[in-house]
Symmetry: C2
Subunit: 504 residues, 2 copies
């Protein structure tokens, strides 16, 4: 098994005493329940054997600190105060000595474990120090080794067919810069090519925020989609009113997203019909909306919106449709990317004949941006796609270290395997407690698994009391977003906790 | 003199051999011209004595590397390829052995020198390593010491009257999140207060990107302003068509910015009139624009737009006007903040009776966000102002180290003093070459100095050949944006270079 071999290779590094291991003290950590790792060797040999719950969460120490924090920082969305120096591997610690198995992982963004020794080494390198303290304006003054950092990092894992990158800071601006590239591409086509100069009218009207310089075009997104919360990205986000209320938005169109019924094998025809109708809706909007869409943006799995899936056939159909109408396809892999679905990029599951035009990334990459391949997506003049920092080389170096760790431990294949195990076991729980685990989804999608709960918020709260940190999505989904170093013995602890929650 | 005392204090730290000093080799650096430091002790004792220009820029090594980089990264806006490991203090190095005095400083964003030893130490700390590798979703899982990091860092330098912060990633999203806070505040007032629930119509229409949920309101900005390049911030940016062409924009209003005539003392009445007319234009737009402005955003000195100044009286008038009409005042200190104008925040020059409602920051802070004081600017419910990362604690730790360095070396006062010296000397050059240094501006504004050049682009190019890296702004301004550790002996090198440029 790949993960076993990988663990053996890991040992010499992870078991040595690194500076932060010396600081950590897990002597007090007692396993709530230790599942025997059944022959599996741990990626983090000195990880806690299981969760420790010492107090209600938040405990007294946390409460005091939260009160202090609230004076200067809005804590109303606070889920749990953490002590990251004490967090390790799959386990998040808090100031009260509680240590939880973390399958939420900072909203799906910690890739290879808290305080990962390999990342720790990268963080303390001279190259990282220089990147941190000598932050360049990348578009103007890139460092002499920036090409190398890109090629051995971000671009090494570029989706097939896409060999270029524009670097950004987080998911929202990654999407917005991709949208900007799409608008420039479309207008360039309308003008007749890259060599055609802007008209006087284009120039003058752009400075007045008026058409044609600021064109009456749109980005098409889907109902219940999430693509970020800045003004352009928020205009394509349709997951919850709380994200959108009181913020001006562009009058851009939203297409129906197919609402699949579960279990899939019992609803084949209905689901096919739903997907065909959704595609027809996309085509209708592309051809008739008063602000013509120049791109369609879609998540491989709608994540914030409730873990909504569609079939590979649907996505292939969308690729065909966008090609047919000369509209770009932007795949937002901010949450699905970097291994969690058992492929490095979730859209690899689709078997596309030609790649998406742009793929955006963030979260587990710990840096952000969009990939593209078509040279026409480079704007025809410099400074059109530009800003001071254009990303952060320090975070790009970290992504490189993450990629090395993923490759060294074969974590994408590992996640596919452990995801299969976890899905099958939850399926068993779902047959045992049919009202509690509804619409189980994510089969064959690594650990990117979710189900609906009739009392979701209570479910998530209860989870902490049995030692697990879990997140939700949409109105009633429980979403599992463990890290890529989540193993079978962690799955067993999680499964045990899930059963405890619904039994209580 | 404060800077002399400070330099003496610095010595024991900066002159020891740190790891990156050991890597640097300045043996080959020969001074083009060394100005005697006239008794002034250097902040960076082992900084080069002056620039070295060995090749045309870019030289052969750089050219080769740029060609390689261009295959994967758009290099058409590349100004100079840098070697940051070899850059030190005020000097930027390149792969060809050229070492330039840098008074552009990564578009005004390097605060306390390349490879600053104190920042280097902070970068290699265990706290930094943990912040880098255990990046939290700050709104959900802040670390137990986040309040302390804020209070000893970002909030320690909060503008007077503003004791809260929302953290962001860069200038653009700092401004956009401030705009979002403004829209939510305005709608809350219209609804009758924080306790009033959203109406069904608000909720439904927001999901359709329609009013009233997505309100028909605006942010008022000024002609030639620059506030960023994402969709909302770009709608308030009015500096150059190249930033705006082909990008859809909100139909938000722009007010006239007073175009002052120089020298100021010879155009007092004209300039007063221009400022009064600009204020009248603001009032007209606030009261009559079809999308009512809920906030006015303004830079203390319009930077990208050409280094355009207005008087303290103008800004006081703007504060009075916005108060009168119950419109928020957002001061965009992304480029002016953190010391360069001889005050920590440029708006301290204005003598305001009540503070701005929000102040945004980025660049020299090396992290970003907006400050506010009024508790009504915290949205009435959690998750309204939220995203996964909400900034970056690693960058917040760096800002803390920057603040400590600024305080230790008294760099704000130092910059006020060296700025006065520099301004006076350029004034002398301007009398000697009146057609070459036009509209000199920034008197009493630290080193935030600019002048217009009849052949600006040529001027900037020529600067490199005489050992200085300088930036431009607007159509014809040469803008000086040295770091806070720029001293009199650097000013002398710069002045000598300026004269060489115009003489050649």
């Amino acid at each position: 098994m790949a993960s076993l071999r990988a663990a053996a290779r890991l040992r010499p590094i992870a078991s040595r005493v690194t500076p932060f291991q010396a600081q950590r003290n897990y002597a007090a950590v007692a396993a709530v329940k230790t599942s025997e790792p059944s022959g599996e060797q741990p990626f983090f040999p000195d990880e806690p054997a299981g969760p420790t719950v010492k107090t209600a969460i938040p405990g007294p120490q946390s409460k005091k600190a939260i009160e202090e924090l609230h004076k200067v920082f809005d804590t109303r969305s606070l889920n749990m105060l953490a002590d990251y120096q004490k967090s390790y591997g799959n386990y998040i610690a808090d100031p009260d000595g509680n240590v939880l198995l973390d399958v939420y992982a900072q909203i799906a963004s910690i890739p290879v474990g808290y305080s990962n020794p390999a990342l720790h080494k990268a963080a303390l390198s001279e190259q990282m120090a220089s990147a941190l303290i000598n932050r360049p304006a990348l578009g103007n003054f890139p460092s002499h080794d920036w090409a190398d950092i890109l090629k051995t990092g971000i671009l090494k894992v570029a989706p097939k067919g896409l060999d270029q990158v524009f670097t950004a800071m987080a998911g929202s601006d990654a999407n917005e810069t991709a949208y900007k590239a799409a608008f420039m591409w479309r207008r360039q086509h309308e003008r007749g090519g890259a060599h055609v100069e802007f008209s006087e009218e284009d120039i003058t009207s752009s400075m007045l925020n008026q058409s044609p310089g600021a064109p009456q075009l749109s980005i098409l997104s889907f109902k219940t989609a999430f693509h970020g919360r800045l003004f352009g990205s928020l205009s394509t986000t349709r997951s919850k009113p709380i994200h959108k209320l009181d913020i001006p938005a562009f009058d851009w169109p939203q297409a129906t997203f197919p609402l699949l019924k579960y279990p899939l094998e019992e609803h084949i025809q209905e689901n096919q019909k739903a997907e065909q109708e959704a595609l027809a809706d996309v085509e209708r909007l592309i051809t008739t909306h008063h602000l013509p869409p120049c791109a369609v943006v879609i998540e491989p799995i709608q994540s914030e919106g409730g873990d909504n899936h569609a079939s590979p056939a649907f996505f292939r159909g969308l690729r065909t449709l966008t090609k047919k109408h000369n509209v770009l396809l932007i795949v937002d892999e901010v949450q699905t990317g970097v291994g969690a679905t058992g492929k490095f990029w979730a859209h690899e599951h689709w078997g596309l004949e030609s790649p998406p035009d742009m793929v955006t990334f963030s979260k587990k990459a710990q840096t952000a941006g969009y990939y593209f391949g078509n040279p026409e997506l480079r704007p025809n003049k410099p400074y059109r796609q530009f800003n001071t920092w254009m990303g952060d080389p320090a975070r790009a170096l970290l992504f490189r270290a993450i990629i090395e760790e993923i490759e060294r431990l074969d974590l994408v294949n590992h996640t596919a395997q452990v995801g299969n195990y976890l899905f099958n076991e939850i399926e068993k729980l779902a047959s045992k407690y049919p009202g509690e685990f509804m619409n189980l989804r994510g089969k064959g999608q690594g650990t990117f698994i979710a189900f609906d709960s009739p009392r979701r918020d209570e479910f998530l709260k209860k989870a902490k009391s049995v030692g697990v940190n879990i997140g939700g999505s949409g109105e009633r989904a429980v979403r599992l977003r463990p890290m890529l170093i989540f193993q079978k013995h962690h799955a067993d602890i999680l499964l045990d906790a899930l059963e405890k929650i619904v039994k209580s």
